[in-house]
Amino acid sequence: MNPIVKYLLQIIVLILLQVLVVDQISLGYASQFIIPSVYFLFVLMLPLTISNGVLMLLAFLIGMMVDVFKSTPGLNASAMVMLGYFRPYLLKLIEPREGFDVLKTPSIYSMRKSIYLGYVSLASMVFHLWYFTLEVMRFSDFHLILLKTLCSSIISVLLIILAQYLTVKRK
């Protein structure tokens, strides 16, 4: 399949999955702490050779698209740009000694499982920490921000790993 068509399809599926399924999950009392996001997986799946500018531009556009659906102008876009900016640093942080295979796209099959799990968890923490900081917007409630970040990140990582096993073909 043409890579551009493939990425467009991924964007559409992830955004619809986010706003129509994940955002509608209701966990009663716990749902005020567990507000998972999974669509940032797209930024994590982009090839390793992509330039920082393109990465941030894509992150910004997709964040804005999700904002359009949730009518929260700027919130998701800001968190996505943050994640886009930090992705190269995260990759450097978890890089194994032999380095990554730059021709492959990051997925659970192209990396070691423990490294991929670290990659997704760190990215999820960065994303949610910035997201809830902007949303709560009060540093007196810092414990609330941390609690929300932690709970949402755990559920998000679980959902993302699940999504990887369900969609990415084993090679």
Partner: protein, 276 residues
């Protein structure tokens, strides 16, 4: 100059990052009624409305029974209200005929096609818009209590700012003591609760008391249910109480709503502008 260019080139991705964040912050920190927000809402309405409607057409079948139950209860309550209005004369029930009667409110039925309740800036989208004379600044009532106020509408869809939005403010009355207050959605509230401030501390507020709309700005009729008192807190050194309420409307299951059209709104606004 050369050094400056080199500097910018070296940190280009950081500057790009700052530029993107700046755009986001302009959206994020502009007020809800600003140009940015309104144009964002209007254009997003057109894009997302169709998708949300298609999705709610499918998922609508799964909660039909609870929806019917809600409507049954609402129907029964309305019948009760109507029965109170009728008087027994001789051998038939009649409504008193009032030649001075003037209808102030009209109600339009709409369906909720999407709603968010977990964030701080939640929203509800309904499937009626300008083609059905739904405008910004109209009240929206659910089957159990009030939902919120419309903020922007496209031809077929309208955004509603629900009580569970951090910018929401509405004047309300404590039913027993008839004292006024404001309902707000504070940081400590989740989607089932809200906070009423400015009720004077000499008012006797008991747990479970009803909080209803005052109808002061013509958005809602007077006496629409808002919620029930959950806890009362006396703030030391202040003459007002802080009352937390359980919202009457269950925001995890809102399907059918009524949009309140105030027929006398123009007259009311004309009067207000004359005074200024």
């Amino acid at each position: 100059m050369n050094n400056l260019l080199k500097f910018i080139q070296k940190y280009s991705s950081f500057f790009l990052f700052l530029a993107f964040q700046l755009i986001c912050f302009v959206f994020l920190f502009s007020s809800v009624n600003s140009y940015h927000h309104v144009s964002f809402a209007n254009s997003s309405n057109i894009i997302t409305g169709g998708i949300y409607e298609a999705s709610s057409n499918v998922s609508g079948y799964f909660h039909l029974s609870s929806e019917v139950e809600q409507l049954r209860i609402q129907n029964a309550n309305l019948k009760k209200k109507l029965a109170r209005k009728k008087t027994f004369t001789e051998d038939e029930y009649t409504s008193p005929r009032d030649t001075h009667y003037l209808q102030q409110f009209d109600f339009l039925h709409a369906k909720v096609i999407s709603s968010f309740k977990n964030g701080r800036k939640n929203n509800v989208t309904i499937n009626k818009g300008m083609n059905d004379q739904v405008e910004p600044e109209m009240g929206v009532i659910g089957t159990k209590g009030i939902i919120g106020i419309t903020t922007s509408s496209s031809e077929h869809y309208t955004y509603v700012k629900p009580i569970i939005h951090e910018d929401f403010v509405l004047e309300v009355i404590h039913e027993k003591s008839k004292s006024f207050g404001f309902v707000k959605w504070t940081q400590s509230d989740d989607w089932r609760t809200a906070t009423v401030v400015d009720i004077p501390n000499y008012a006797e507020v008991n747990l479970g008391d009803e909080i209803i709309t005052r109808g002061s700005n013509g958005l809602f009729p007077m006496g629409e249910m808002v919620g029930y008192v959950l806890s009362v807190e006396d703030i030391p050194g202040d003459v007002y109480l802080k009352v937390r309420i359980n919202l009457a409307e269950d925001f995890s299951s809102v399907y059918n709503v009524l949009v309140v059209n105030n027929i006398l709104k123009k007259e009311f606004e004309g009067l207000k502008s004359k005074q200024n």
